[in-house]
Amino acid sequence: MAAVDLSAIVIPPAERSEGYWASVLRRLRRDPVAMAALAVIVLIVLAAVLAPYIAPADPFRGSMARRLRAIGTPGYLLGTDELGRDMLTRLMYGGRLSLFMGVTPVILAFVVGSGIGIFAAYVGGWVNTVVMRIIDVFFAFPSVLLAIALSGALGAGILNSIVSLTVVFVPQIARIAEAVTTQTRNRDFVEAARISGAGPLTIVRVHVLGNVLGPIFVYATSLISVSMILSSGLSFLGLGVKPPEPEWGLMLNTLRTAIYNQPLVAALPGVMIFITSISFNLFSDGLRGAMEVRQ
């Protein structure tokens, strides 16, 4: 082979196959449930992001004169809250913090947890055992309890609640990451790469990441709904956002006094949490289906 002048060989353009992610997208587009869920998520995100431009009222200005108006009151499409603030506006603004606090911990945990899990699994041996046993300790606590305890210890506030939720999700993601990486590293193609003399970093970059990030990502998207509920829960308990800042969990809390006068209005933030988290869940299910590797 030494005699072959490789530079002299002209590489003809090869037929390109559709890449993996392109095929995932194609299958996802054919899934009506996932696409509907995605549409709802996009709508909610847009409403939250564009709130300052499209919201009908000021989220902080209330009036004792128009407290707790019913849904459908002229000028207040979704009624008003216990301080007479426009609910539609509050819900749109509330989405900003709720989404931020729901998604951020999952993103952080995805980065940290994947790193820990992939590292532990790829190194293997006692390192893996030690790391995973430490991770297991976190599983001894129910996640709600753990989040409340951490938030309580760190003190109320947006940042602290994000930190505590991240800590709740890191072990869960790390465990999944460890499982899929262990599975992948024992496949023949990783062995073949090792035989060809590639170092561990190259193998992880070329052969492991591409095969494990997908499944971990799907799992992470399914955690967003949990994260939304937990962060709202923390705010509800007064451990997250402080009034008068609009946030769905906190709104649910402050409106609970109105449950007998305007039950529908009082339920609205809960409905939003429900719709958003179920949309994330349905989308995640669709993504998982679309990502199943064909033989």
Partner: protein
């Protein structure tokens, strides 16, 4: 290189034609030794490979056959250094692997392997050309040169680069995938190729194509093969010499024709007569062996084959037979082959 050219007189040949390309001495690997999780499982050591010696001459194909659990795949992985041996030496072209003269990295570049499962041994996220170009890239080839080499190799294994280079593993057939695996193994210009059941999972009509391809590649690239299979027809077709393994030991070793014509070990005899007869008028009427291959945990004493052997005597359960010469380079580990062993059937004959 042109197809049909004589083997490259490699400057890499250090020991000369007389030195075997691969020499394995006293290879041992045991697994486990702990009891089951609840203390109920069989405790004991799995003697996967238990003192195996063989060599492969340059340009030769050594076939390794045996039932599941005989240690043939473990032997391949030990030679490949994917798992570390407990004992034994592996010499490549006269130099000990891992010594100063031959580092592990340098050794690995010269020995490559093709696995049985063509799908599992390809990264599903990489295109065919990326898979083949990976090895050269790791060893510092420029992207363009690595791709050019990949295309050349794909062409050599019968996959037109124009059509196949950009495909993913799930888009091509099993036979085509195995061709990709062969191209990948060749991408580092190895001298020894270990084929671990490389054609076993293929359809018969495709298997023949791949076997022909392997013969062509061997000639064109001046390769040496270690060919592991459970299919005796295939091993006979491919191999110059054959090693029969049983429960981690060599039962018989020698040139193909004598092994098929005058097998020395009763186990080899049984293996050969287990092959389907291919004659509708003379079907097999009696199974040559009863029962399953035994577990390599706590193998039988003496000759490991003795509980299944039709020629068994008390001697066989007491003394372990050593490899004895039967003819030109033809060895078998059976008391019946050694006239001095004192096996009662020898006196009767």
């Amino acid at each position: 290189m042109i197809i049909g050219a004589p083997p490259v007189p490699t400057s890499r040949d250090r020991g000369g034609p007389g030195t075997p390309l691969l020499e394995v001495r006293g290879l041992v690997r045991h697994f486990g030794g702990k009891g089951g999780l609840f203390g109920k499982g069989k405790s004991g050591v799995v003697r996967a490979v238990d003192g195996v010696d063989f060599s492969i001459a340059k340009g030769e194909t050594l076939g390794i056959v045996g039932e599941s659990g005989c240690g043939k795949s473990t032997t391949a992985r030990l030679v490949m250094q994917i798992i570390k041996p407990d004992a034994g030496d592996i010499l490549f072209d006269g130099e000990a692997v891992g010594s100063q003269a031959l580092s592990l990295g340098a050794f690995r570049r010269q020995v490559q392997m093709v696995f049985q499962d063509s799908y599992a041994s390809l990264n599903p996220r990489l295109t065919v050309e990326e898979t083949v170009a990976f090895g050269p890239r790791v060893h510092g080839a420029k992207s363009g040169a690595a791709l050019a080499k990949a295309h050349d190799l794909l062409h050599r294994v019968g996959l037109e680069p124009r059509r196949f280079a950009g495909r993913y593993p799930h888009e091509i057939s099993g036979g085509q995938r195995q061709r990709v695996n062969i191209a990948r193994a060749l991408s580092l210009d190895p001298r020894l190729l270990i084929l671990d059941e490389a054609v076993s999972a293929l359809d018969k009509s495709v298997e023949a194509q791949v076997l022909n391809l392997l013969l062509d590649l061997k000639r064109d690239f001046g390769l040496t093969y270690m060919f592991i299979t459970h299919d005796l027809n295939v091993v006979r077709f491919m191999s110059d010499r054959i090693m029969v393994m049983y429960l981690g030991k060599v039962a018989e070793l020698g040139p193909s024709e004598p092994i098929f014509a005058t097998p020395g070990h009763p186990y080899t005899v049984a293996l050969l007569s287990s092959m389907p007869s291919m004659d509708p008028d003379h079907r097999t009427e009696e199974a040559p062996l009863t029962g399953d291959p035994p577990n390599p945990i706590d193998p039988p004493s003496g000759c490991r084959f003795h509980p299944r052997c039709k020629m068994v005597s008390t001697l066989c359960s007491q003394a372990e037979p050593q490899l004895s010469t039967m003819g030109q380079d033809h060895l078998a580990a059976c008391h019946l082959v050694n006239p001095q062993s004192g096996h009662p059937r020898l006196a009767a004959a």
